[in-house]
């Protein structure tokens, strides 16, 4: 198994190198004048000339790539055109809000999606299965950004239940001191005992959480169902049933355990998709995460910022898949 993990790690590094190469290609080779692109449409000729030298565009491509990789390894993603601050710093500030959202949707995917898939597989072709399948096909067909707007229309404009957006109400932001330990608002307010802030934050995360969470819940339910259906046909399940074990034990303990490999792959996959879906959702809810960050970078043609978020997201996706593969490797059947 050690050898498998080692080989997988090595492959992960190769893939990350490839990702870095593609982003390099995107930023330096595809645009007709990368320097002009890099400094934005309102730059003066002097700024463009300076960028050309800063980016090393006057040097041969392999030298440029070498320098680019060096910067990447040091976590240097350049600085934003709009704020002139290092992008790494801005990512760090925006990350906690996004991680909160992604975490909530992942929890939903695991605790709603998996049971839904299990029940659906167990009651194959009964109404509950049809309902849950329709749900899973339905939610992957929904444009996330539209769901956000519709939820706002429904729960803010019409029913006045949930706030329109933001992480906290304005009056709380103005009157109370917001705890800042880890940057994760809900966690920080909970450990410092600020329950009013915690409840307010919880209230604010409901709509964006649902918007973001629908897709992974549907995806995980669908995959769990199909993985379980295959497993339920296997001999050892028939054997377990013939021992007279209750259906509950057969299903939730015998069958589900063997679907852990495919389920963890899907969960990793769905975290990656969720991360990208925040790009479409956060700006709707004025959620101060990297989704809003890249959405405004796109509008402001802030190319270094767009690239920074892209590299960050792609790397996290690669790492997530790596983790999923290692979890699968813990299964003795694939250790060979």
């Amino acid at each position: 198994m050690k050898r498998f993990i080692l080989r997988r790690l090595l492959l992960g590094i190769v893939v990350m190198l490839g990702v870095a190469f593609i982003t390099f290609f995107l930023t330096r080779v595809i645009p007709s004048d990368p320097a002009a692109k890099w400094v934005g449409p309102r730059a003066t000729p002097e700024q463009i000339a300076k960028a050309r030298i800063d980016l090393g565009l006057d040097q041969p491509l392999h030298v440029q790539f070498y320098k680019y990789m060096g910067d990447l390894l040091q976590g240097n993603l350049g600085s934003s055109l709009r704020t002139r601050r290092p992008i790494m710093l801005e990512l760090k500030e925006n990350l906690p809000a996004t991680i909160e959202l992604v975490l909530i949707s992942t929890i939903a995917a695991v605790f709603i999606g998996i049971p839904l898939g299990v029940i659906s597989a167990n009651r194959k072709d009964q109404w509950i299965d049809h309902l849950s399948r329709l749900f899973s096909v339905g939610v992957v067909s929904l444009p996330t950004f539209w769901v956000g707007l519709i939820l706002q229309l429904l729960f803010f404009r019409t029913l006045h239940i949930f706030p329109l957006g933001g992480q906290l109400s304005t009056e709380i932001k103005l009157t109370m001191e917001i705890p800042k330990i880890t940057g994760f608002l809900m966690f920080d307010s909970l450990v410092t005992g600020n329950f009013r802030i915690f409840v307010d934050a919880l209230w604010h995360i409901v709509l964006p959480g649902i918007t973001i969470g629908l897709y992974p819940v549907g995806l995980v339910a669908r995959m769990t169902r199909s993985a379980l259906l295959e497993i339920l046909n296997e001999d050892y399940i028939t054997a377990a049933r013939s021992y007279g074990l209750s259906e509950r034990i057969v299903l939730w303990s015998y069958a589900l355990k063997n679907s852990i490999g495919s389920t963890s792959t899907v969960v990793a996959l769905s975290i990656g998709y969720t991360l990208v879906n925040t790009f479409l959702t956060e700006s709707i809810y004025s959620w101060p995460g990297i989704g809003s960050y890249i959405a405004s970078a796109v509008i402001g043609l802030d190319y270094p910022a767009i690239m920074g978020v892209t590299i960050f997201s792609a790397f996290s996706y690669v790492i997530l898949n790596l983790v999923a593969d290692i979890i699968i490797a813990l299964d003795p059947r694939v250790r060979a």
């Binding site: 930023t27 096909v137 539209w146 709707i284």
Partner: protein
């Protein structure tokens, strides 16, 4: 006419297979409805100028007297901030979405299929190189690469299609390669090799035509996802540009007004949901019917 009857003879099994699959697909009520809806959508797209009540509103005409009117008998879907009829714009949007999705998938096939055939047909170093490149492309979440790519190519609909094609081809390469590897060892390919047919013509004349079926299935399943991706790019400002009545862009512009004009974002969204849903349902159905494991008579 001997050749014709020979030809139909050889085609007979696949025609029977197709009719059987179609029968199975059509038997499921949900899938039959989806098929009908797809036909309707195509008709709407083709005949948009005749169906839309105000064809001029689709692009350039404005109508300042009727700004942001709620749905009425005159404007079924209401009007936008320039007084344009939303129904007409949504109808023209069908045309844009179906067209761009088809072109994007087509381009992805054009890149992915030959590469997959070469990788699987040649094997060896070439196979290794092509497949490692696809691995790298597949390590991006699909929407992410499309976003980055279209941002750097310049935001417009043409570049959005190109970006989608570039982030989508590796899936097809994988499928075709898998097929090609197994076909490479079949008797007729060995025979072709034995009589000295050049490698490339073996790949493109003998292997490639036999790999199409699964990739066509995959491509038809992807249409829904691609429509959604185009809408998402346009929503971010990276796809269609105003005044194009693209659905994602319509929703994006509606954001300024939607709290007081619910119809503005609702109808284009429903159009996206219906279109993507029927393509996904059909895709699911096709997969279930063609997979011997889940096929049921």
């Amino acid at each position: 006419m001997q050749w014709l009857s020979d030809f139909t003879m050889t085609l007979q099994p696949s025609i029977r297979e197709f009719r059987m699959s179609f029968y199975l697909l059509n038997r499921n009520r949900l899938q039959r409805i989806s098929l009908i809806v797809i036909v309707l959508l195509v008709l709407v797209a083709v005949f948009a100028p005749f169906i839309a009540p105000y064809p001029g509103h689709a692009i350039s005409d404005t109508n300042p007297d009727d700004k942001l009117q709620p749905p009425s008998t005159r404007y079924w879907f209401g009007t936008d901030e320039l007084g344009r009829d939303m129904l007409s714009r949504v109808i023209y949007g069908t045309r844009i979405s179906l067209q761009t999705a088809l072109i994007a998938v087509g381009m992805a096939l054009l890149i992915g299929v030959p590469l997959g055939a070469i990788a699987g047909g040649l094997g060896g170093v070439m196979d290794e190189i092509i497949m490692r490149i696809t691995d790298v492309f597949l390590s991006f979440p699909p929407l992410l690469l499309a976003i980055a790519m279209s941002a750097f190519l310049g935001p417009n609909l043409r570049n959005a299609m190109l970006s989608i094609a570039i982030s989508w081809w590796p899936w097809y390469t994988r499928i075709i390669r898998g097929q090609a590897v197994s076909i490479r060892e079949r008797q007729f390919v060995r025979a072709a090799r034995a009589i000295g047919t050049p490698k490339m013509s073996i790949i493109f004349k003998h292997i490639l035509p036999n790999t199409f079926a699964p990739v066509i299935v995959q491509a038809s399943m992807d249409i829904g996802g691609v429509i959604l991706t185009i809408a998402s790019l346009s929503f971010l400002g990276l796809g269609a540009q105003p005044p194009t009545p693209e659905w994602g862009l319509l929703i994006s512009t509606s954001r300024t007004y939607f709290l007081n004009a619910w119809w503005y974002s609702t109808f284009p969204g429903i159009a996206i949901v219906i279109t993507v849903l029927v393509f996904n349902l059909i895709g699911d159905g096709i997969r279930e019917v063609l997979d011997p494991k889940t096929r049921r008579f």
